[in-house]
């Protein structure tokens, strides 16, 4: 596509966001009057805000926010130096664009009043009625907006995870349109299925503590569709230079690990024992998975690699995400060990066998690791950790494992099919890939008119 068409499509996108923002603003004055005038039902006491819970959820939102720049450095260090800014910019663009999408429609589609178990309505368009009083359906002790902004951070990082599959070759304009459509058509519905009141997977009893299905399977499977449709980078697999800055990747992994405590322990939505259990489980799984990965490295390649350590740790965090608030420390340890065994196999043997260029292993780590995490939740979940959860297969409830399989299949198939269609349509209309020449020069210069590093001074 000609650059001018790309510019127009982006302008159209901005116009869409602006217009949809103006409409509800006009009716804002009514809301302000309506909220205090609404009489509380006499029999139910007004939900009371807990300061500790609120502090923890706001802190967690901030921790999860940091994961997106962390991911940017994780991915940015793994690409070639000519593409480092393109990856950082894709991550930061997700932060900006999806925040606005979330505020306007995303939150309402995900958590708004249920429509047939499939999606939320637009009743909370532009956060209409999402105020500072708690919403007991989701979190009875914190302001509704605290829950909303905590969830916003999940919606932001999920499309950013997909970047790993199409890094170093996707047009920035196509990227922007893709994540906007993907968030609206894939993330928001699946978030509703799993977490929304009335969502069909929620009603079925599927366990997903902090987003293994919604975030990792969803993004990981979309990543596979991306790698298959965008095809390989020029020179893959033999002529691609190694990671240009592994210390950046380690920095990014450190920020991800740190931020993940907000992701998983914050999902308890309170400063309580459950948050503690989730934080402890997350940390143990990350450590066990990093350790397992480098031991496999040692056995197979004779050295414990730095990249292996951080890849394993991230895989462990991915797998523990759905399980964090449902498993005990031993369960977390086993999930950490097993996920590295599985993901190592996927990355080191499956990918070369099939030859797809999932450049930074978004599918190999988030897709495969996410699916294993969701299944493993059905194995090691126990009500002794969380009475609101369920027992898994190893605690005498094989039915839970079947439910988890169904949840994995539903989200994986839906995400793959819709992502595939989105990528195909964008490829046929505006085109997904930069030109061969631009790919050789690098995305930093050709997509952003900037260079990550100067040569002199």
């Amino acid at each position: 596509m000609k650059p001018i068409t790309a510019r127009w499509s982006l302008l159209a996108l901005l116009a869409y966001l602006t217009c949809s923002a103006v409409v509800p603003c006009l009716s804002r004055a009514d809301d302000a009057v309506a909220v205090p005038a609404a009489p509380a039902v006499a029999s139910t006491p007004a939900p009371k805000i807990d300061t500790g819970d609120t502090a923890w959820v706001l802190t967690s939102a901030s921790l999860v926010l940091l994961m997106t720049p962390g991911l940017a450095f994780f991915y940015g260090g793994l690409v070639r130096r000519k593409n480092v800014l393109s990856v950082l910019q894709q991550c930061m663009m997700a932060l900006a664009l999806i925040t606005v999408q979330w505020m306007l429609v995303g939150y309402s589609l995900s958590f708004g009043p249920d429509q047939g178990g499939l999606i939320g309505s637009l009743a909370w368009f532009a956060l209409k009625g999402v105020g500072l009083d708690p919403n007991p359906d989701y979190a009875a002790t914190i302001p509704h907006q605290a829950f909303m902004i905590f969830q916003a951070m999940f919606a932001i990082i999920t499309p950013a995870l997909i970047i790993g599959a199409f890094a170093e070759r996707m047009k920035f304009s196509a990227y922007c349109i893709f994540i906007l459509l993907w968030s609206t058509l894939v993330y928001d519905p699946v978030a509703h299925w799993v977490w929304g009141v009335g969502g069909f997977l929620h009603k079925m009893g599927a366990l997903d503590f902090a987003g293994g299905t919604v975030v990792h399977i969803n993004a990981g499977v979309a990543a596979l569709a991306a790698a298959l449709i965008l095809k390989k980078r020029q020179g893959f697999p033999t002529k691609i230079s190694p990671p240009h800055n592994l210390p950046f990747a380690v920095l990014g992994a450190g920020l991800l690990w740190f931020g993940w405590f907000g992701f998983n322990a914050g999902s308890a939505l309170g400063a309580n024992g459950l948050a503690t259990a989730a934080l402890v489980a997350s940390h143990i799984a990350a450590a066990a998975a990093g350790l397992t990965w480098v031991l496999l490295d040692l056995a197979i390649n004779k050295h414990m690699t730095m990249l292996g350590m951080i890849t394993g740790a991230v895989a462990g965090l991915v797998a523990i995400t759905p399980a964090a608030g449902f498993v005990n420390p031993v369960g977390a340890l086993l999930i950490g060990i097993t996920v590295s065994l599985i993901c190592y196999f996927a990355v080191a043997f499956l990918k070369p066998r099939f030859g797809y260029d999932d450049s930074l292993d978004a599918f190999g780590v988030h897709g495969i690791g996410g699916m294993w995490g969701a299944l493993a939740t059905g194995l090691w979940a126990t009500k002794t950790v969380n009475s609101a959860g369920a027992d898994g297969l190893f605690f005498g409830n094989p039915a839970q494992f079947i439910i988890q399989i169904k949840a994995v299949l539903a989200s994986a198939i839906y995400s793959f099919v819709v992502s595939w269609i989105l990528f195909k349509v964008l490829d046929m209309t505006i085109g997904l890939r930069v030109s061969e020449q631009d790919e050789r020069i690098g995305l930093d210069l050709t997509q952003h008119s900037e260079a990550g590093y100067t040569m002199i001074d």
Binding site: P242, D297, N301, H303, Y344, A348
Partner: protein, 113 residues
């Protein structure tokens, strides 16, 4: 006048510079370079994907000298850079046509030191 180009191991740079200093040879340009010789490269592994590393890090020294300093310069480099292993590097000696000091416009051997 001669122009000496030496490719040496990165960990020998300090020793070579010290020995040059001892022989009153102060002017040198140092560059970090990649290269390949009989030592070959060390292969790298990223997520089990093997990179046949064919280049190794070396340091390149460039020194312009008047003819009487040629021998001491080579001795200093040899003395500092030699470990006896494959990969110690090489010294190339080239004839130098002219030298001009930019600040003063001095030309020829007076501009070398």
């Amino acid at each position: 006048m001669k122009y000496i180009v030496a490719i040496i191991q990165p960990d020998r740079v300090d020793e070579v510079l010290q020995r040059l200093e001892n022989k009153d040879i102060h002017l040198v340009t140092v560059t970090s370079v990649m290269g390949r010789g009989r030592q070959k490269g060390i292969s790298e592994v990223y997520r089990s994907h093997k990179e046949a590393g064919s280049l190794l890090r070396k340091v390149k020294l460039e020194i312009a000298v008047n003819d009487e300093f040629l021998k001491p310069t080579i001795e200093a480099i040899m003395g500092g850079a030699k470990t006896g292993n494959i990969g110690d590097g090489k010294i190339f000696v080239l004839d130098l046509q002219d030298v001009i000091r930019i600040r003063t416009a001095e030309q020829g051997s007076v501009a070398v030191g």
